[in-house]
Symmetry: C2
Subunit: 510 residues, 2 copies
């Protein structure tokens, strides 16, 4: 059989809808195989760099990306239309994350080093047992359309997989191939210079290459940020493997917000303006976009809604990331507006220019009689306000909420009773409970969690924050091992990291 001709990977400007350049060819199956073999071969040497070596590698990647900040931001802006301010911030976040993960692995708690010396127990004699986490093996990372840096080639999945000690092969998102390729080249060169083995980083382009990657025996885990359907397609490939591997997907999120009556009464107009700022941020293309806001009925709630309407009318039609998102947005937001029980409160600017533009949209419904379609995520600058008459109606509606990455309460001064009840109701189905702020910002920190039950994620793991690293590790116990064969961190004379010894947590140096 003749090899089918390679297909061009084209970078498109969403502001015009025009193709700008051919970035690469779609990666062939043979090339995916070669990259996977190189990643597998690189794994022991990357682990062998040690925690200090890999921390230095992460810092080198951050330094290299920052050294090319102008190019990276310009390329990403041309491909995503997200604007320089946002993309500069995203690059800063990405570099901060790489450096923070370096600190995390140097601190060493993430290894969960645990030593049980031999001894007698009620079950009889116990052998010497020592446990810690080890790298899982080569990781496939799928870049997301909406964060060309923070959730793509140099993003959280890559940073956490490398921190854990695993080679990474990224499937570049078709929406920003040039940005992906540029970041990959910058990072590859920096990795080489930092002493990382060949095969530490790889990149593939094209849908078939992504499927080949997930099916490849060398790949030991998959990180994905994208749609439920995209995630399900990858899960199906994984299930057909002879050895299904862990899949970490961040898939879909409604992010309900509750405005309490007291909050509406105290600062309704302000809340309304801020809510619009949050749901139109990045053209509404955040996984943490507040897609549904519960606002009290009556004049206090009207003040929230009026301010929202005014802010939406003043918002121009933003450029969406790609044609697919623009088409879906028109179809889904238009469909929501047509639902019985849903009315259109305000529309933003209509698209006047070329490109993948969308009209911001504010819809209203009743919490008592809410069509289930409004509880589904719609990517883009639309949000639904559900008006509630009383707490009983509010809580009945909250019970129907799907799981989300976040749930937000905007409360009155000193108010605790209703906010507590709301967050108790939503705690079972949200990964982050936000008070008096908006869910769109996701700080990178030790205490951050970005996840939640399906469909927010498919797992109990986070894709932001330092425990993201744990996804790409697996536990191993050594039983009766001589000191010489143990990893350094499990030896008797090592004191450099927190460890649990005979059940007692000990800090370094103790």
């Amino acid at each position: 059989m003749a090899t089918p001709p390679a297909r061009d990977v084209v970078s498109i400007d969403p502001r015009t809808g025009e193709a700008v350049e051919v970035v690469a060819q779609e990666t062939t199956s043979a090339e995916v195989d070669r990259l996977c073999a190189a990643a597998l071969a690189a794994a022991p040497a990357l682990d062998g760099m040690g925690r200090a070596g890999r921390a230095a590698l992460l810092r080198a990647l951050a330094d290299a990306l920052e050294a090319r900040r102008e190019d990276v931001v310009a390329t990403a802006d041309r491909e995503t239309a997200l604007g320089g301010t946002r993309l500069n911030g995203e690059l800063t976040r990405t570099c901060y994350q790489l450096r923070l993960f370096g600190e995390v692995i140097e601190e060493g708690s993430y290894l969960e080093a645990t030593i049980d010396h031999p001894g007698d127990t009620p079950m009889g004699p116990r052998p010497d047992l020592r446990r810690m986490l080890v790298p899982i093996g080569p990781v496939a990372v799928f870049g997301a359309s909406n964060f060309p840096l923070a959730f793509s080639v140099p993003g959280g999945d890559t940073a956490s997989a490398l921190a854990a000690g695993n080679p990474v092969i990224v499937k570049a998102h078709g929406s920003h191939p040039a940005t992906s390729q540029l970041c990959f080249e910058i990072m590859s060169a920096a990795a080489r210079e930092a002493g990382a083995p060949d095969g530490t980083l790889g990149i593939v382009h094209g849908v078939q290459a992504g499927a080949d990657l997930v099916a490849h025996p060398a790949i030991r885990a998959v990180g994905f940020t994208g749609s439920v359907n995209g995630g399900k397609a990858l899960l199906e490939i994984i299930e057909r493997r002879p050895d299904p591997v862990p899949f970490f997907g961040e898939l879909s999120s409604l992010n309900p917000v509750v405005v309490t009556p007291q909050a509406a009464a105290e600062r309704g107009a302000q809340l309304g303006r801020e809510l619009v700022g949050s749901f139109t941020l990045g053209a509404g293309q955040f996984c943490t976009k507040p897609g549904l806001a519960f606002v009290p009925a009556g004049p206090e709630g009207d003040a929230v809604l009026d301010a929202m309407a005014e802010a939406v009318r003043a918002t121009d039609a933003p450029v969406l990331l790609n044609e697919g998102i623009a088409t879906s947005y028109s179809r889904i937001s238009g469909g929501l507006a047509e639902l019985p029980g849903v009315s259109t409160v305000a529309r933003g600017g209509e698209p006047q220019e070329s490109g993948f533009r969308a009209t911001p949209l504010l819809l209203e419904t009743s919490a008592a009689d809410m069509p289930h379609e409004v509880t589904e995520e719609c990517f883009g600058p639309v949000s639904v306000v559900a008006r509630y008459d009383d707490e009983k109606t509010l809580f009945a509606a909250l019970e129907a909420m799907p799981s989300s990455l976040t749930a937000t309460v905007l409360r009155g001064e000193g108010e605790t009773e209703l906010p507590l009840a709301v967050s108790q109701e939503l705690r079972t189905r949200a990964g982050r409970l936000v008070y008096d702020a908006y869910p769109t910002g996701v700080a990178v920190s030790w205490a951050q969690h970005h996840g939640g039950p399906w469909p927010s994620t498919n797992s109990q793991h986070t894709s932001v924050g330092t425990t993201a690293i744990r996804r790409f590790l697996r536990p191993v116990s050594w039983q009766g091992a001589p000191q010489e064969v143990l990893p350094e961190e499990l030896r008797d004379d090592y004191r450099g990291i927190p460890r649990r010894i005979d059940g007692k947590l000990q800090l370094p140096g103790e």
Copy 2:
């Protein structure tokens, strides 16, 4: 449609193959639904007992089981033929585990409490973020045939799910329904007395009830110990849910053992006897049974094999757990013996009596030319010895090993080089690396890990050892929360457990 008649759940004596008693009726879908609703309703109150309350609950369960030790062991022996010594040990282990998990939750590290105070970062201002793990919700636990106590109603999955704060519904294994029902009744009464809410524990019988349980919306995670096929069937049900939930399966394991030339030369006969002791323990029905042993060619290896053969010939035909296992054992072990390149070294006693008996079997093959069938788990008293001529042959064979719960090296006095190379080769595909001991014993401890890549488990999680609890927890972050709505462990003035504050791990009281 008329309700189909309920079917009897019958307890069978494997020593005779005869039905002894009707234990219960198969649980109907309506009853599964009622139990799930009760579990869901119990969840907040069980969480509300707090860590001290649940630790007391776990101790009460252990006390109650020990108070009925004679009944429990007698019933389990009648249903499993595992014998009083083993079953007494298993009950002791089970009670120890419940009490240890009580200590773990009192110690509190398992919550991973993390506080980031608000502050400036290179990304801009960071809000107050506080993270800890919370109970995942009602858990379905599938009892295993081979451990009627330690991996069944009172076993590790139940103990860890309850410790985490979740109601549990156990699907009783059809091989020991009376033991399951008895343990359930003892534990339910003890739980009630300890103040646990109704619905904390449930039990179902029958295959359909198990399927109904896994499909039920109230169930938030599934723990399973059993076959690959059984695990895959449950995974398929989970994938059809609108909200797939985490599945923790412990499925299959070969547990390769490497005898080094030096070990064989120093103590070959002893190793041979011990290996037979390990692979015939519990009639070879351990998930950690050494199913394949690499033994050097030549006279030192012959000494290992000769001692194994002698020990196997001296072993009577044990009673297997049930008819299905006995039938599979005959078929699979018989098939292995017929494979080209495989020869029968020794057979143990032939079944002379009634019941589900099996002939112990020792097979031999060449590591250089090993049929792939010998790398598949066969439940029951059979093991294969693969002879290797040199290290090159050994390592080529190790590369073909599937992932296992364990990998074992039996080494010579002071030998480290070859053992290290073997464990580096097998570390990527084993959860526990055992030196100079046998994999069958699985101590319950802080540093234990019982898991490994597919097919040992489907996940990075353990089903033995204290981190088993983590399977049934999920992270939640609170952002900008007033102190009043935070869980106690995340409040500023709390000092009772280890916490990470602004990136620094702090011990209690600091």
